[in-house]
Symmetry: C2
Subunit: 129 residues, 2 copies
């Protein structure tokens, strides 16, 4: 595995935060986690591959929904504990809820308000549901 991965400050679980940003719009799409294996898989495949903490396994983003993220640029922050992935979002949907971005709620007058429409009903792209 690439020794330059050592510049990343992996946390106590061997993970680094990964923020996916849509390159064409600048929209922040989601935040997830990567371990060394998922970072290597991202580089090898060219598609964002995360580590699913809830499922404790490699998560090839879009493996079920088809909404893969083609990585165009990868950036690391000053202290090496976060990465930005500049991606092309296939299908224009990053979120399992069917929203373009996972950040579809905004804070307004002391409440979280839904701020973006559902692009497509997730039942249409999660066959297993």
């Amino acid at each position: 595995m690439n020794t330059n991965f050592d510049m990343i400050k992996w946390d106590e679980h061997g993970l680094v935060a990964a923020v996916a940003q849509e390159i064409v719009s600048g929209r922040v799409l989601m935040m997830a986690w990567m371990n060394r294996e998922s970072l290597q898989a991202t580089l090898d495949s060219g598609f964002a591959t995360y580590w699913s903490r809830s499922r404790a396994r490699l998560w090839r983003k879009g493996e079920e929904s088809g909404h893969r993220q083609r990585v165009k640029l990868m950036e690391m922050d000053c202290d090496g504990d976060a990465i930005v992935l500049q991606v092309e979002q296939e299908g224009g949907i990053a979120c399992h809820t069917g929203h373009h971005s996972c950040f579809y709620r905004k804070w307004q007058d002391g409440e979280w308000i839904e701020n973006e429409p559902v692009v497509r009903n997730p039942i249409e792209f999660y066959k297993a549901l």
Copy 2:
């Protein structure tokens, strides 16, 4: 404290990931952490206030450098474990290294390469150095 903070999935340390994005440029500036106190301080002051894990105290961003972040919009993701702060970055510098963004290194040919200039030498804005 606002009960709608309960919609956030605070981690085992009582923290949530916070991504600051420059509203005018779309540039992702930094990733840091917030606890309930820092979120409340952000709302009260209108300026991004984080929880410094290394110093274990409230971190009023810009308190030393003057590079405060005025929060224009706050967004929460689908599972409530990350927040995006859309900010105006005072001084045009988010990073303690003097770069515009903390994500000033990119992955290229198997290495992390510095990809953005230093806007201003940090010795000029950290009086204590």
